[in-house]
Every structure is written in structure tokens, then in C-alpha cells.
Amino acid sequence: MQDTVNREQDAADRATGYRMEARQVSKIFGTHKALDGVDFGLLPGEVHALLGENGAGKSTLIKILTGAYQPDGGAIFVDGEEVHLTSPLQAQTYGIGTVYQEVNLLPNRSVAENLFLGHQPTRFGLVDRRRMDREARVLLKRYGLDIDPSSELGAHSVAVQQIVAIARAVQLSGKVLILDEPTASLDRDEVQRLFEVIASLKRDGLAIVFITHFLDQVFALADRVTILRNGRLVDTRRLTELSRTDLVRKMLGKDIAFSGSTSLEAERPPTELLLDFKGYGRKRSVRPFSLAIHKGEVIGVAGLLGSGRTEMARMMFGIDPADEGSVTLSGKPITVKSATEAIGHGFGFCPEDRKADGILGDLSVRENIVIALQGKLGWFRALNRDEQLDLAGQFGEAMDIRAASLDMPVKLLSGGNQQKVILARWLATDPAFLILDEPTRGIDVGAHAEIVRTINRLRDDGMALVVISSEIDEVVAYSSRVVVMRDREMVAELKGEDINPAVIVQAIATHGENSEFEAEVTA
């Protein structure tokens, strides 16, 4: 659906010569077409954003460009020459380097060793540590890093590690740099710092592929954008030709509603009291707090990383049980000393770290969905296969999980779909109270909207929810009340008109002078 202007532009781009090009690449997994005849051209000296929803084919395309996957159809060109990339290591020899979201370096070795690992300068056959450190220092300067090259990499912030990883990739490859969600775990200042590095690499003529979920960052950094949907190319455009709404529409094939800035939920009259925490706390973890939670209410939890918000969630769910205070459920005093006990009371918990605490990677989507309900039923009342398929189908559909089969390992799904699986797992237990810790972190726009919709739906169905999020706009949009955590203490409970970003930020920031504002404000 490209118009003539675009085609001329395209021809002009081609004339200037792509640094790297994928023509009509396809990739098939079983019967599923992960990529279907996609064209992708990368110019020298540009930042090219790659966008798409869950399962759009972004990571498959990246893996083909870096040689981790071989395409089932189509061809790859570097500087006009066709190449056959067989491994990331071999792709490096063509000048293609990649930096992933999780830094793939050795945290317990020095910065210099990480930069030069595999090709250290040697002297008499031994590593010339002094020369290595000297060269590392020069290299790091170029990236605006003034750190001791002999210091341990792990001692530095994620942002610094990310820049070291970029320096290493550029050093080794030097033509094409692929950045796969490099900003996902960075705070705002760190993102800024990373952007400066990327901009300077771009000026040096490097061709950069940039993958992110943050539209703001796309508009701030990218020159062109390629949008994929369901394995097909939707469009490649200059960002100057594209409005934000156009971009989102192209990604989703539909419009998603961006929230207003005040809560629609604040005015709702209070309903039946479900949980009443009184003086609830845990030594060296969360200071005692009191909180009453009603049915059909979303309690938003705002606060910085390390403010005690995750600790509060873990304590409510009995993973790190409270050692003071009390809690009642529908008026009756209860104890919550373990996750099993919490689930018995009708609680559910989606943890922040999906991979470490959420999914059972090697097990099937079906088993991942039924596991909590089966845990509740116990060892001896086993759900048979048909019942499992039935449940998984029902809740998978309710959460719009896109999986080729319910029997495929859950680790093969995208992050957004994995998060939906974990939500489906809890919904299958029919919980009265659900705790969600950063349910929308690191997932794409479509899944994000889906999860926000689910939160609203569950609240309207009468469930009580506690939702922790660093996205203030999001918290504002769905919360009936907002509690603010700071220094392991509940410092504010905001209602009505006070549920707006300015007041929340104010509450987080007061006295919080030595902590950084880490929330990523989108929209």
C-alpha cells in the first residue's frame, strides 16, 4: 500500500545504498509463519526503529539479521553483496553487532576484560593488562565514560554496562549495530545518556537498528521506522512523515485509547470491605501500614524502585510473611504465612520478574495456565488432560493469548503473551484479590492495552486488585485509590482529585532527594 511518493523515496534510499538489506525474508516454525516475505533496508548513518506488536516478528527478523536464525526464504545483503549468515559470531565478521536487553557480559570481570575478551592485547603470549586498561580508557572516553577500566563490570549501573556492551559490539563489528530493547531497564537519565552515545555513533556513519516499546523514544531518536504485524511488513517510513496516531494504528491495525490524565474511577462509591490490613509490617522490609481494600477496587501502588512496593506485595501474598499487625478477610481474622495459604484465601500474585518467578518455561501453555488451580486443588485431585485443555482454552481466549498451540512450551511465546498466560493462570483460580507487580513492564503496546483492559474488567466484575506500576499515567487511569511508597513506608493514600500525575510525583519526590525518578512516563 505504498504510494508513489513513498516509492520514489524508497528508490532514492536504494540509490544511496543500503548498508544491510533483507529481501523477502521468511521464517517458518512448524506451521507458523513467523516472518512472511519481509523487506528491510538499513542505511548507513541512520537509526532505524523496528516496531510491532506481540508476535509481529521483530525478534525473528533480528535473529535472522544477526545470523542466529537462518531464513527459510529470501536473502540478506551487506553492502550490496549477498551473504549467508550462519551464526552471530560469523555475522560479526560482516560488521554486524548486537546488544541485548539483558547485558550479555561477565559481571565479575573487569570493564577492560569485557571490552577485549577474546582479543586481548598480549605481550610475550600473556595478556598485557596495562596496555589493555590503557586502550580501554581511551575507548571508554569516546563513549563519555570516565570509569576505571580495571573495576569490576558488575559494580557499575546497568546503563554503564549497556554502554560497555555497545562499545564492545561496535569495536568488534563496526558497520551495523542492533539494539534490542536497550532502554528497558534504564531510568530516565540513563536513557538520555544512552541516546547521546547512539546519536554520536550515528554521526560516525554506523547503521543502527533500534527496538523499543517506548514510542517517545522512537520519536526522539529514530530517523526511519519499520512496522511489522503478524510476520508481515506493514510499512517503512521516515518518522517526519508519520504522526503518533498513525504509527500506533499501523502497529495495531486498530486504535487504542490513550488515557486522560485524571481518574475515572475515583468517584465510585465504596463497596463491601474485603481485606483490612492493620499495622501490617515486616522487620527490615516494610514498615507497618494500614490499608482497607474493598471489592471492585483497584489500589494503585506508586513508588520508586526499592521503595518497598515489591516487598509490600510479597508480604501481602505471604512469600515473606508479615511479623507484625493483622489482617481480616471479610471481617474474619486470617494469617498469610505462605503463598499456598494466600491462594487458599483467594489471593493471586503476578510477580515483577516474569522469567524468574512467573513462567515455567519448559512446560506447556496449558500446564502454565492450570498450575495455580491445580496447586489449590492439591496433590490428589488432579485435573485430567481434557479439563486442563478446557480451562487453558477458556482462559487463554479470555486473555487473547496468541499461541500456535496450547501444548507448546510457554518460553517460546513473546513477553506480552507470557504475561497474559500468568494472568490467565490466576483468573483460572477465580481469585477475590489479585496483586499485580508491574504487569505491563517490557511488553508491547498491544498486550499493554489488553492488560489494562483486563484490569478494568476485573475491577468492574467486583475483584479487588493491588497494582504496582512505574507508569504513572497508567496508575492514574485505572486506580480507585493510589498509595505511595517511599523508603519502605506507605507515605500517602490518595483519593479523588488527588489521583493525578502531579500529586503522585509530588508524593514520591518529597524527601526522596537521593533517589532518582525512575518511572517512564509514556503518552
Partner: protein, 332 residues
């Protein structure tokens, strides 16, 4: 789950077992000959089953442990302890069933100890069970006071050498145990929970699985299996040899589980396939013996076969297969 049992039985493990058995048949034409004598079956094939039973029994418990991302190195030593306790009890005048109960109790306690170290103190399984692997054999030697305690108690001798419906008792016990444990894990949710804990213990715990209790139970079952194997081995030789009973058998049991397709990283497991794995190992041992090669060949041939089986199961072979499949489709 039981809808297509025949198709499920055709896999790497069963093909390997058939291959090894056929190889035995080529080397020793009388291999498949089975005779009925004195009310029981005799033949090389029966011998493979009989000799393979102790490792198969160990492998049943080991598989569950490995599926939780653990390992139980102590099973060989627990065998020696169970044998020593049973022998000492009957020599001390107690009836056979008391000796069996005593030995099983010792196995259970050993398993609980291992489970407590792993589940409650969070000690790495390989280290936690190493404690008993070393100490257990010492304890067994203390029980037997350093000598081989011989006995002729009919109950123990029957367990080691008797027969039931024509099959040797060790085979009957292994078979019964295999069916029992398979039903216990697959007809309940225990199998799913074991796999969940093995894949991601933290996530499994957060999903409400009592992972500590499960781990303790799994090691307890492994200890019980080791005790049963220990009683069989003692009954077979009519004596408890604390130095040699079950020596290195933990390694055969681990191997059987791995050949059976259970990953040392935990997760998916099949008790039946582990028993098949144990039989593959025993078929190789027996094959080398009956074909008249010196037993020194045994270890080398065994290592070669195992390498082959593991290569067939490796992800690399999987990729190779898809590659061949694709090329064939292209060619057509």
C-alpha cells in the same frame, strides 16, 4: 494420556533397547531362548531383567529426584546400609518381615535427611547427598562390624532369588514399583508439580505448590527405592557386603534416568523410560558377558553405546533431523 500408548513407546530409548538386544542376539544366538524350569523362566533375557532390576528400582526414585533439578548420590550407600540393617536383624534373631521393615525405615530416614538438607537448608543436591554417599557406606560398615554378614532367612532369600508367576522376584518388585510410582505421579498432580518445581522452583512456589514438602517426598521415595534395591541385592547373595553392595550404582541410576530422557536441568520425566534406560545398561553388561568377551571390554563398550544414545538425543541431532527432513521435502 493413555490414548496412543503404542505410538508413545516407539522412541529413541526403546529403539536403542531393541538394537542392543539384537546385537546381543547376533553375538550370542541363544540370547532370546527362554526355558521353563522348576516353575520359573530361565534365559539370557530373563537374566537381563533380573540383573537390571536393582538399577531399575534406583532409577525410578532417581528420575523423580532429577526431574526436580536434583540428584541423589547416596542411593548406592543407602543400599549398603539397608542390606546391612536387614542382615544384622535376621542374624540377631528377628523375623524376616521385621528386617525388611527395618531396612525400609532406614531408607526412608536417609531420604528424609537428604530431602531436609535440600528443601529446608537449600543445600545443593549434589553436595547434600554426597554427605550420605560417603557417610552411609561407613555406617553400613559399622553395622556389619566390617565383615560380610551372611544369613539364610527365607523371606530375604525369597526377595532376592525367589520367583512369582514364573518371574524372578526382583523383576516382579521392579515392575510393580514402576507401575505404582507411574500411577502415583501421573494419576495425581504430583508429576506436574515435580516438573514445575524442576523447571522453576520459585515460580512453582508462587503458584501455590508446596515445593519444600514435594522435594522432601521425592528424596524420601528415592531413599525407599534404594532400600528395596539393597534388600534385593543382600537377599540375592544371602549376605550384606557393606563394602561392595550398591557400589557405583548411583551412577548407573543417573545414567538410566538420563538415557530415559530426563534432563539433569529438571523438568520433563518418564519413569518407564528410565526403567528402559536401566535395561539398556544391563543388556550391554549381559551381552558382553554372554558373548565371551573379557569383562574389561564392558566399560569401554558401555561408554561408547551411551555416547551414541546421548548423541541421538542431543539438540544437535534434532537440528540435523529437521535439516534432512527439509532437504527431502525440497527434493521432492
Amino acid at each position: 494420556m493413555m490414548r496412543i500408548p503404542l505410538a508413545r513407546l516407539v522412541n529413541t530409548q526403546t529403539i536403542a533397547l531393541v538394537g542392543v538386544l539384537l546385537l546381543n542376539w547376533i553375538l550370542f544366538p541363544g540370547f532370546f531362548k527362554i526355558e521353563w524350569q522348576d516353575g520359573r523362566l530361565f534365559g539370557s533375557l530373563i537374566d537381563v531383567l533380573n540383573r537390571g532390576a536393582p538399577v531399575a528400582i534406583l532409577a525410578i526414585g532417581m528420575t523423580a529426584v532429577i526431574a526436580t533439578k536434583g540428584v541423589d548420590l547416596s542411593v548406592g550407600a543407602v543400599m549398603a546400609m539397608a542390606g546391612a540393617v536387614a542382615a544384622t536383624l535376621v542374624v540377631g534373631g528377628y523375623p524376616g518381615w521385621v528386617a525388611v521393615a527395618g531396612a525400609l525405615t532406614v531408607g526412608l530416614l536417609c531420604g528424609l535427611w537428604n530431602g531436609a538438607l535440600v528443601a529446608l537448608l537449600d543445600i545443593q543436591p549434589i553436595i547434600a547427598t554426597l554427605v550420605l554417599m560417603v557417610a552411609g557406606r561407613g555406617i553400613a560398615q559399622l553395622i556389619t562390624e566390617g565383615s560380610i554378614v551372611t544369613f539364610s532367612d527365607p523371606t530375604l532369600v525369597f526377595i532376592g532369588t525367589g520367583s512369582f508367576l514364573g518371574l524372578p522376584m526382583p523383576v516382579v518388585i521392579a515392575l510393580a514399583l514402576m507401575i505404582l510410582v507411574t500411577l502415583a505421579v501421573r494419576k495425581t498432580a504430583i508429576g506436574l508439580f515435580i516438573e514445575a518445581v524442576g523447571v522453576n522452583r520459585s515460580a512453582a512456589t508462587l503458584a501455590g505448590i508446596r515445593s519444600r514438602l514435594l522435594l522432601i517426598a521425592v528424596y524420601a521415595v528415592s531413599g525407599l527405592c534404594a532400600a528395596i534395591a539393597g534388600i534385593i541385592v543382600a537377599g540375592d547373595i544371602r549376605g550384606a557386603d557393606a563394602n561392595n553392595a550398591g557400589l557405583w550404582l548411583e551412577l548407573d541410576a543417573i545414567l538410566a534416568a538420563v538415557i530415559g530422557g530426563t534432563s539433569l536441568l529438571g523438568g520433563r520425566f518418564s519413569i518407564v523410560m528410565s526403567v528402559v534406560g536401566a535395561l539398556i545398561i544391563q543388556a550391554m553388561n549381559t551381552g558382553i558377558l554372554v558373548s565371551g568377551y573379557p569383562p574389561e571390554f564392558n566399560l569401554v563398550v558401555k561408554a561408547g553405546m551411551i555416547t551414541l544414545i546421548l548423541m541421538i538425543q542431543s539438540p544437535f541431532a534434532g537440528r540435523l533431523l529437521t535439516w534432512f527432513g527439509r532437504n527431502r521435502r525440497k527434493g521432492a
